[in-house]
């Protein structure tokens, strides 16, 4: 008999204040291993702030975050990454003057001190995102779609258990978005857990097992995708009173 599996991530009443402004207030939810959780909400709802709190860029003002049972408060982003949780950036951050391969090598080096071994890992991850043919290009010269894929390859190379993807489809055309959707589903098949911020509702409905809706820093709703989109409060938050 195995016990009920512990959640991989627990967000417990997390609040983040900037001066008097509550960017997150009293947000709680949990994630089980292997799931994809969609994090949605209008602009300014506090999605990226929550990412920053979870990954150690900001200390939460209140509340606590547990990853694999371990309390993260006060940890720096590099320590969080070593524990197995890593994020991508809404505004992509390629290491512009390094080659595509070397960008991924940097990610892989968190798990090994050997550069040749890191290069092996990096090549594998470039295959996963179908960018092996671009290995020797400068990262700074890539078009946006490939930059987004490079971000994903780079975080995959850190061998994470939990991936936080911040709008990896933002600014992409439909074909590129479809690529990313397939990539996210592939990653899920390999057993990784993912939290995804996305504005494209169709995409988020397709990939998410659960959805958490933030509005003005608070958790507005949580549930299965269909449940959430038919929730009148969520519709109001997105479209305004008149549509209800």
């Amino acid at each position: 008999m195995s016990a009920v599996p512990e959640p991989i991530l627990e967000i417990k009443s997390v609040s983040k204040f900037f001066g008097g402004l509550a960017a997150n207030s009293d947000v709680s939810f949990t994630m089980d291993e292997g799931m994809i959780l969609g994090l949605i909400g209008p602009n300014g709802a506090g999605k990226t702030t929550l990412f920053n709190c979870i990954t150690g860029y900001y200390p939460p003002t209140k509340g606590e975050i547990l990853f694999k049972g371990q309390r993260l408060n006060g940890m720096t982003p590099d320590q969080v990454c070593k524990l197995g949780m890593v994020r991508t950036w809404q505004k992509v951050r390629p290491l512009a003057k390094l080659s595509v391969l070397d960008n991924v090598v940097v990610g892989a080096l968190v798990r090994t001190g050997s550069v040749p071994e890191a290069r092996e890992i990096a090549r594998e991850q470039l295959h996963v995102v179908k960018m092996a043919h671009k290995a020797d290009f400068l990262a700074g010269g890539l078009p946006i779609g490939e930059r987004k894929k490079l971000e994903v390859a780079r975080v995959l190379a850190t061998k994470p258990d939990l991936l936080l993807l911040d709008e990896v489809m933002g600014g992409l055309n439909p074909a590129e978005s479809e690529d990313i959707i397939q990539l996210i589903l592939d990653i899920k098949k390999r057993g990784l857990t993912q939290m995804v911020i996305e504005h494209d509702m169709k995409a988020i409905m397709r990939i998410s097992d659960r959805i958490v809706v933030l509005n003005s820093g608070e958790k507005l709703a949580e549930g299965a995708p269909q449940e959430v989109v038919s929730n009148p409060e969520v519709v109001t938050a997105y479209l305004g009173e008149a549509h209800v």
């Binding site: 982003p77 940097v106 968190v110």
Partner: protein, 362 residues
Amino acid sequence: MRPSPQSRGLALLPVVLGVAAVVALAILPKYVESPYALQLMVLFFLAVIQGEAWNLIGGYGGQYSVGHAAYFGIGAYTVIVLLQSKGLAPWWGLFPALLLAVVVAAIVGSITFRLRGPYFVLASIAVAEIFRLAALNWKQLTNGAEGILLSGIPPLVIGGAQITDFSSKVPFYYMGLALAVVTVLVTIWFQGSKLGYYLQAIREDQDAANSLGIPLTFYKNVALMISAFFTAFAGALYGLYVGFIDPQTAVGLDISVQIVLTAIIGGIGTVLGPVVGAALLVALSEALRSNVLTDLLIGSGLVDAGSGIGQFLRDNLSHAHMLIYGVLVALTILYMPDGVLGGIKNQLRKRRSRAAAAGGAA
């Protein structure tokens, strides 16, 4: 993808060229006896060591320290003071000198690496100024602004045999060459190591680097400590070679600026950039000092030797090296932001990717 035998042969080419260059430099003093030529070469080697050392933290790590004179001065003063006042031979004095520089680097780094961009640059200048003022005012130890004139270096004796008595420039030539080669080799190792990858990631984007598991301050500190080690070594060599140090020539802001220029003009973040930069800067400062530039302007007929301008240039241009350096840096940053070597590399890369694109289209 395995490299073809042909490309493997090409990869050996830099090694062959490098070894040939070092061998040529090693036998040079057998054929060239002119003290002037040897003097220029020693200055060149010293500039290479400093440029390569700075390049580790400044070029690869993107942390533009304009305070490396602090480590240069620590190296020079520690060795010279210990030799002059305690009679400690410089090859023993080097140990405390280098250790002190590395410890100071760790402390300075832990404080200043919290700062980013221009704030870090300003802090690095301030730290070096603190050391210059200390050298100026701690008179019992440093003899203040008068400086220390070295009365002699004891002969180096190993196993009863005298290796050298340091009376000519040749031993300094070989020490400079050896250390310059070591710094180039260290840079080659650094570039392919985890440390080098991490420093480059930090240069490109600190937040992204941090999110990928890189503890920023720790890796910056390690690179700065290696950098300070070689900078202090160069300082010690300089002090022994010139036989005189004072706060301005051993810890002055000029030194910090020249170190940065060597790397920037040659090409930061490349193995050979500082070598190219050192050659250019030593040649330029020598040309200015000996008025070659003025002679050139007059010889070309642009300036009349008898006129007021000709006289003015002849009297003043030789002291204007800092001014010329400034112009040179402005030009480099405007037209060749990656330095002379970086500019060439970019051109090659462009041509290659254009060829690749053409090949892909065909």
